[in-house]
Each structure stands twice: as C-alpha cells, then as structure tokens.
C-alpha cells in the first residue's frame, strides 16, 4: 500500500494513517522525492497524528527524507507527533534535530508559510 501524497498550492501534504513497515517507509521516501521533483513545490507537511510508535529505522528513513527534501529545495514540517512517540524517540536517543515540528496540521501549514515567507 502506498502512502498518498497530495498537492495543495505550493505544498505537498502527507498524512500517514497506518503503521509503517520497512517497505512502505522506503517506498514513501522514493515517492515523495519523485513528487517534489515533478511538482517543484517549496514545502512539505508530514502529519504523524495516527502513528503510535516510531523505531530507529523509521526515524532514520524520516530523517533522511527530510534531509533529501531540503537538498531538493523543499522545507519539511513534521506535525502531530504523539506524546508517547516523542518520549520513546528521545529515550532511544533520536532528537530529530534540525527538523521543523508543529502540533497539528493547521499549525504546520502556518509554520511552513512563515518559513517560506522569510
């Protein structure tokens, strides 16, 4: 199953709705970069509200995809990380430094516009 990627004005919108397995995560990485290339958007919002756990592999894929998107000129904001997920990530020692975050999709879009406006 592929994760749908939607385009909204100059942004891409991704909402991950189910538990990520390794293949889906890697497929998503490829799809997102391809879509950025096709649409030449300047921002991406990835919403993780429905994700209830992230291990170091998925964290790495996410971190990589963010770095890669940045290289391609698209800023990424991660939204809706659940408290439980944030705690386990920190305890694993994964800080996702340099990643922009927002509390929900709405705030994420706002933040992205702010970042792009500057």
């Amino acid at each position: 199953m592929r994760i749908p990627i939607l385009k909204l004005y100059n942004c891409l919108l991704v909402s991950i709705q189910w538990e990520l397995d390794d293949q889906t995560a890697l497929q998503f990485q490829e799809d997102l970069l391809q879509k950025i290339h096709e649409t030449s958007v300047s921002g991406v919002v990835i919403d993780l509200t429905s994700i209830d756990f992230i291990d170091s592999f998925i964290a790495k894929v996410l971190g990589d995809v963010i770095d890669m998107s940045n290289l391609m000129g698209a800023k990424v904001v991660i939204t809706g990380i659940q408290p439980a997920v944030a705690i386990t990530l920190i305890e694993l020692g994964i800080g996702l430094n340099n990643v922009l975050t927002a509390i929900d999709l709405e705030k994420g879009l706002e933040k992205l516009q702010q970042e792009l406006g500057e």
Partner: protein, 277 residues
C-alpha cells in the same frame, strides 16, 4: 491460656495497671510523654492494658478489631513502635514479678508457666508489630499517591502558552511522570510555548538536568517550544560547573520574563490600558 495466669492477672488487674503505667512513664525517654498530656497518656495506656487483658480472656474477634484500632490510633498519635513493644515487655515483667512475690509461681510450675507466658507474649508482639507495619505501609502508600497527584500540574495561562511549575526533588520516576504530563498537556491545549519553571526545585544535578533536557527535546518533537524559567544563581552556577549544555534552550531567570518572551513568540504583548482614570 493457663488458668492460673489468667486468674492472677484478672484479680490484680488494677495494681498491675498502676505499676505498669508508672514504670512505662519512667522508662520512656520522654519522647512520648513530652508530646502528649498525662490524660491522653493514661487513657491510652489503660486502653492498651485492657487490650492485653481482652486477649487473655480469649475473645479473638473482638481482640483483633481493637488491636487494629489501637495500632492505627498510636500511629496517628505518632507514638514510636518501641513504646508499644517495650510496654508489652514491661507488662510481662510486672506480672511475673508479682506472681513470684505472691507465691502463685513456685519452683515446680515455674518452667511450664514461663513457657506458656512467653508463647502468649511473643504471638501478641508479632501481631502488634504486623498491624503496626501494615498501618505504616498504608500511610506511606497514601502519601506516595498524594505526592504523585501534586507532582506535575500543567497550567494553561494564555491561549497557546502553558506553564508547568516544578516543586521539590525530581527522581527518575517523577521525571517520567512529568514528561508524560507535559507532552499530553501540550498536545491537549495545542500549546505553542511550554514554560517549565524550576524555581521550586532545590537541586539541579546532572540527572535532573538530563531529564529536563529530554523533556524539552520531546516538547520540540510534538511541535511546541520549551522554555526553562526560574533559574536561580546557585543553579546557574551548578549547571555551568557540571558542564551541562543548555545552550539549545531558551532560559529565563523568572517566570515573568518567560511569559513575556512567550507572548512575544506568539506575537502578543501586554499593554497598559490608555484613557483610564
């Protein structure tokens, strides 16, 4: 229970009680006597002696309820366990001495009397200590729950700004609790800025600092900004001399400064009303 001992105690109940109260008072290190009035001391002692005698009569059900009530009362009064257990011992000594003096105890029956008496005393002792310990454990667990409840409140002070004041010592378990409350609250209130106020934290060592840093990082992951307020001079000193790196975080010396900064981040400020008389 040996009929002989029982009859003897029953018959000399008043004398034994008098002597027992007197001795207990003399023996005790004033710790108990100082904090309670004579009246309370006397009545409680009498209750205790009555209790011993009830046990003697062999009414088990009644004895257990009363012993439990008594133990709870003594704990509430703050009397030390040593008072109760040495009181029991004194009681035994007095009864024995008197039995010897009055000739009830003879060389022939001495051994069997002693054995029975000892058995009775020991079982009562164990029971009292058991009830005492249970009562204490209950108190301690209640206090633990009470402490957990007050451990980490999250207060939404303005729209998008929440404050978590921390008071008291922070251990690992509490730190985890704090982190959970902090994050759940931040998400629930859709906070943009979360202020952690450590004015009430007496000591910030590497462990506490580590937990605070973790909490701040986790707050950033859920999409809010974390600010540390209430850093007193001695805490700033320890943080720097321990080599703890807090440079990634915004820190303020007071909650007031923190809230001002938080308002600024959320593009607001507090202004004086003009035109008021």
């Amino acid at each position: 229970m040996n009929k002989l001992i029982f009859t003897f105690i029953e018959a000399h109940k008043i004398d034994i009680l008098e002597e027992w109260i007197r001795t207990t008072k003399d023996e005790n290190d004033d710790r108990v006597v100082r904090v309670v009035s004579d009246q309370v001391f006397n009545s409680t002692s009498r209750e205790f002696a009555d209790l011993i005698i009830t046990n003697l009569k062999g009414d088990k059900g009644d004895y257990h309820t009363r012993l439990k009530e008594f133990a709870e009362k003594v704990v509430r009064l703050g009397w030390p366990l040593t008072f109760v257990s040495s009181g029991l011992h004194t009681f035994g000594v007095i009864v024995f001495k008197r039995m010897e003096q009055s000739g009830v105890m003879t060389i022939e029956n001495q051994r069997s009397l002693f054995r029975e008496f000892d058995e009775w005393m020991t079982s009562m002792n164990i029971e009292i200590i058991g009830i005492y310990a249970t009562t204490w454990e209950k108190t301690v667990s209640l206090q633990k729950i009470a402490l957990q409840e007050l451990s980490a409140p999250l207060i939404p002070v303005f729209e998008r700004i929440t404050v978590m004041p921390l008071v008291g010592t922070i251990d690992t378990e509490r730190a985890k609790q704090i982190m959970e409350n902090l994050l759940k609250g931040a998400v629930k209130h859709r906070s943009e800025v979360v202020l952690i106020d450590i004015t009430g934290v007496p000591v910030v060592d590497t462990m506490v600092a580590h937990h605070i840093i973790q909490a701040a990082e986790a707050v950033r992951l859920v999409g809010a900004k974390c600010m540390l307020c209430g850093i007193r001079p001695e805490i700033a000193q320890t943080i720097v001399s321990l080599g703890i790196d807090l440079t990634q975080f915004t820190t303020k010396n007071s909650l007031q400064k923190g809230i001002e900064a938080a308002l600024e981040i959320t593009n607001r400020k507090i202004v004086n009303m003009e035109g008021l008389k």
